[in-house]
Point group: C2
């Protein structure tokens, strides 16, 4: 279980490898109330590392669910100015931001999709300045996970001790079972960096995804695209790792150069709803058709959030031999599931996946082909038989993935 | 234990008798993270009563203690504007405010008093607009308590199950053990109201407190003083009960007409520090001498907070036959201990204890003799042998308390 020495190592990995907290810097931790001991340990370790101040933004899905159930939509969409300011404050003061993602995947299954979507949209819109900044690495941030009861019961419905099982799974993916977790992370990051360097060297014009499930999709890339992996650099010049675990190498698709059909490989948990067995068809970057066996309304609401949720903002490559993929566990949590499978994201693209993107205006990024939106939602497309072929400007083709794994 | 039906009744008493939540009104609950189930139940019942929106302000003394330990004083004194705005928001939107007081009485015993005092002062100063409004009943508010582990262990150090014992004690004082708690509260409020009406009718000029412990104090009252009890009326005209439990009948001393010496009857827990065996000597309303067997520095820092913490803002009468006094339990929590004993408060007086006080400016209130400060700290003076005599303008004396209890 995530306690004692393991919890301390978890906190230290999050702070030293994750946000790379510097002496004299502020830290905010978003944490579910039931896991207060985790936030307390991260707070303690942060202060021991020299944090200036640590604040915790507590979260509680039971209160949220009651609000979604009983409050009306206009009230849910009315985001107080002080709340928006409390987020922008983190940017102004260059805080590090640790988000503990431990949502119950079906917390809001009984709430009408329209209500959830309206509230999510209002929130995303109100916090656009903050999320734009986070996505452009304006602050150092890191998403990690700890097991909560409700989440663990969905991942291990037949277990006698779901929380313990999920804890074990998370510890493995976080490399907390290694003798020296910090060293293991450094090696892992080097390995991912090499893959990104290879792809940057090749300068593919597009990628072609194909498998037996029906995916046959060409994803055009920006001329100035940059492949990134685990280690990124924030505006203040300090490196960090935004997701732990992370197994992906990713860049931005061209918002207007995606064509064909893609079939989902795993369920998508969005806003407390599960969307499964879905497909999207693109023409010139835009979704022109879609279907879903489960959660059609939630998918429809997501796609219709704004103009940007009809297009792609990310393409990420993960081989089937990644530790998360090999675990065969469906986590119902994007942090893990996106690292088990090649994926795409609807919505906003990361400015950092464009050359000098953090120095360009929104208009300049858009002109280069980067998508913009209030949302950024990953969905998995990688299967055991997936082929990915890189196509250069002159038509030269190079296989990148065969049988669902890297071949370069 | 506070769960099931008892927890539901606790929530309903807090909402219906306490803040008297109205349909369509917002509610904020301040709650320690470890008692999240209590906040969840109050949230649920509030929505069922028709609340517009419910928000929870989560608290965690372990994180606070780490901050007090490791952050420097200027950082602790730097209260973000969004935090101040988040409190003033409650006033602007006429939210009800439920505060769950469940502090560990010695949470901050290892923190230097000066650091705690500086941070408390900065916070009180930053939140002055909000606390002024609360004390003038600008919003409806209610303080209640639930047992936390650390607090219970201090109250029942030799118990096998301190939390359960403290829970039982709280349930009794909250009248949750009665067949119909709501009805029991209505009868209790009527009884206290009658006492306040009697004192208002008498229009005493001063009260004289005397006992064998060394207390010999004359507390002058304002010409326009008003005795209040449990049930008050907020600015919006709706009644509420600000403390549950409550056993007191209280008014404002004249800031410049307190003379003599008062000896504490119970320890005072202030800012995570215990102050015990203390005495204060007043001349023309101002403290001119003080002593303490324990916590002298904390007392000194409290008194020296500002000009107003050298004078009194409240005088409250509670008989020794009050259920809390009879329990003989020292709760180390003002909400309970102040209702076991006659008490005074250093610092700000309630504008509502002056006739039409909520319509008067700060200057007008001050001119009438009401004390002002960033603080308001109760301390207990009632003993089993306490005598209180009411003295009218013409010198007529009427005994109000003999042998520590009401005699009118």
């Amino acid at each position: 279980m995530l306690d004692g020495k393991t919890l301390q190592n978890f906190a230290l990995l999050t702070l030293k490898i994750g946000v790379n907290l510097q002496k004299g810097q502020g830290l905010e931790i978003a944490c579910p109330v039931e896991k207060h001991k985790v936030a307390e340990e991260i707070t303690k370790q942060a202060y021991l590392l020299g944090a200036k101040i640590v604040r915790v933004r507590w979260e509680n899905e039971i209160v949220d669910k009651l609000s979604y159930t009983y409050a009306d939509t206009p009230t849910l969409c009315d985001i107080p100015k002080w709340f928006i300011d409390s987020k922008n404050y983190l940017v102004e003061k260059n805080f590090c931001y640790v988000a503990i993602a431990a949502d119950d995947p079906s917390a809001f299954k009984d709430i009408p999709s329209e209500k959830l979507a309206a509230a999510a949209k209002a929130r995303s819109k109100a916090l656009k300045k903050f999320s734009d900044c986070v996505m452009a690495n304006g602050i150092r941030w890191c998403v990690v996970s700890v097991p909560t009861k409700a989440w663990a019961e969905q991942v291990f419905p037949n277990s006698l001790d779901p929380e313990s099982d999920l804890s074990d799974a998370i510890e493995k993916t976080m490399r907390l079972d290694r003798e020296n977790p910090t060293l293991a992370w450094k090696e892992h990051i080097d390995n991912l960096t090499k893959k990104a360097e290879y792809l940057n060297y090749k300068r593919f014009d597009s990628l072609h995804f194909k498998n037996g499930a029906g995916t046959d999709l060409t994803v055009g890339l920006l001329d100035d695209h940059v492949w990134l992996s685990a280690k990124e650099t924030a505006k203040d010049g300090v490196s960090f790792v935004a997701n732990m675990p992370t197994e992906e190498v990713f860049t931005a698709p061209h918002a207007k150069k995606v064509n064909g059909k893609v079939v989902s490989a795993m369920p998508l948990c969005e806003n407390g709803k599960i969307i499964d067995g879905f497909s999207l068809t693109f023409k010139d970057g835009k979704i022109v058709d879609f279907s879903a066996e489960k959660g059609y309304d939630a998918l429809k609401n997501l796609i219709e959030t704004d103009q940007g949720t009809r297009r792609l903002g990310e393409v990420a490559l993960i081989g089937k031999s990644s530790p998360i993929a090999k675990s065969k566990i469906l986590f119902f949590n994007t942090l893990f599931d996106e690292n088990a499978s090649c994926h795409l994201a609807l919505g906003k693209g990361y400015p950092t996946t464009v050359k000098d993107g953090d120095k360009l205006s929104k208009e300049e990024l858009s002109k280069l082909g980067l998508n913009d939106s209030v949302e950024h939602v990953d969905f998995m497309i990688g299967t055991e038989d997936l082929t990915v072929i890189g196509i250069e400007k002159d038509g030269t083709k190079t296989p990148i993935f065969t049988k669902g794994d890297w071949c370069v």
